[in-house]
Amino acid sequence: MAKAKTNTEDYLRMYRQMMRIRTFEDNANQLYLSAKMPGLTHMYSGEEAVAVGICEALTDDDRITSTHRGHGHCVAKGANFKEMFCELLGKEEGYCRGKGGSMHIADQSHGNLGANAIVGGSMGIATGSALRAKLLGQDDVTVCFFGDGATAQGLWYEVMNMAALWTLPVIYACENNGYSEYTKTEEIAAGSITARAEAFGIEAFQVDGQDVLAVNELTQKLVARCRKGDGPFFIELMTYRYHGHHVGDINREYYRSKAEEKDWKDNRDPIIRFRSYLVSEGIATEDEIEAMNTEIEKDASEAVAYAEAAKYPDVSEVDMHIYAD
């Protein structure tokens, strides 16, 4: 594992946040399987080191834009389980009062501008947020999360051009999990993805997205440089999603083998890797980690129970929030 110069507390928080994402997703999947969750959702499990490595390098003033696979970004940026589960179940106390659901979850208080159900749909928003920072003389940075599949959208090339021309404080973070829906990335992406950013004169990096310290170390550097006016940057994070494209994508051997899934889970799991690092470096004991896991599980099951019992928004809310006052 790469060694980032952070202290024990930072390490433990990174572990904790990764575990919180995994636990959140396990509970969300369970809600789907027991037919308690309306609609479908896309699991972030397997990609935790990406969201956490990046978001741990940000402050609450820094913004992110998220994707259809957005629970991980939301948790990593500081969201609470209770409001998240309420949102997933369409309840009034959800982050978006039940209006958005899984694919539109947003958390203003921590700078999460929202998940997005349009692939690539947030690229303009993220770049616009960075333009605002520059115009208003604010020193926050915006991270734009998107998948490998989203690199096919023309919008990305339009906004990268402007971000580069105007040196905007934005970091494009491409989560390359090898697939867009049921298609392998190599079948839909010509040439090199990093080279596309480089063509605009944007410094591009590729990093092991299963190594939370490597991701965090790189992001810390780039965020600091963005704040000084050196942006934009591009990072391609090599990662893997454990579940199907969405929770309903169960029989997937026609596009992805079980052996491949097993290999990633057994040999490159970001949480297992970091856990053994913490233990071998003497940062935490197995018992301490187990205690942390138990506490996170308790937090999640309490939030789920709360959300299940919570009330739906009143029907009068249906035509509220169409226009701002």
């Binding site: 309306p38 609609g39 479908l40 369409g90 309840k91 978006c96 009062r97 039940g98 209006k99 958005g100 659901g101 899984s102 694919m103 539109h104 997005n116 159900a117 349009i118 692939v119 690539g120 749909g121 599949g149 989203a150 096919a152 959208q153 023309g154 867009s180 829906e181 049921y182 298609t183 079948e187 839909i188 992406a189 026609y254 596009y255 739906y312 928004p313 029907v315 809310e317 249906v318 035509d319 169409i322």
Partner: protein
Amino acid sequence: MREITLSQAVNEAIAEEMRRDRTVFLMGEDVAEAGTPFKVLSGLVEEFGTERVIDTPIAEPGFVGLAVGAAMTGARPIVDLMFGDFIYLVMDQLCNQAAKQHYMSGGKLSVPMVLRTNMGATRRSAAQHSQSLQAIVAHIPGLKVAMPSSAYEAKGLMKTAIRDNNPVVIFEDKLMYQDKAPVPEEEFLIPFGEAHIKRDGSDITLIATSSMVQVAEKAADLLSKEGIEAEVIDPRTIVPLDEAALIESVKKTSRAIVIDEGHQSYGVTSEIASRLNEKAFYHLDTPVIRMGAMDVPVPFSPALEDITVPTPDRVAETARKLCSGELIHAA
């Protein structure tokens, strides 16, 4: 007659036309091995190969643009747009390019392409995967718009669309893919611009599109028990629109409700209501009532989403009021 699902009907129509005409090909995201997320196109790549069933990157404006160019130069592309909501991404290619080539070239160029996509809420898919955007497309001269209401229509309209020399957009209701209906084994086409009278009635006309046809039929069942006989008409294509059939029905019933799942304001229901107003005014006893989806983005929460679309109960309730004279001055 055998019964097949709407999904199978679309699949058969495309397969038959691809066998018949070498220039027909399909493209879109995950259309090949995956057969689309709704599995509508499963099996086509096995028969026609990846040359004619093409998986594209997630680049909607790009591949719709390619379809326009291919269509202008001798092919007949069928483009699969995974969700109707993505129409917004391809508006320039569809409305500035495809729709206008024939006119701008004085009739010399044409764009024989089909864009098949979907519509419909109440699937808990939230604001960007639930919209019914047929009105937006129907607004643009040069585009034809088909809205199948069952497997039978889905097959017949798709075959006609593929043979049409214009860009045609087909909106399928994504909740209807598994619904079965009788569909003949023998080949048939459904001409554009021919409404279908689903149910005869003399007291009120319910004009309904796609997903709303079932809603209108259920409302008619409810009304019939109370002695109100509703006529249910499905225009099948909203461009071209079979005005004559709609007017004919209204002459008989003298009342009409128009039901469509798109937003009510500036929508399909408004257009049809205005035409009846202009062309059947003296035959009407009551104002023509529009029932579209609420003018709100589609909310995620089931508690909110379900009230945004017309339901059989609400249609029946409105019809009852119209027939008893209650709503006459409500407009």
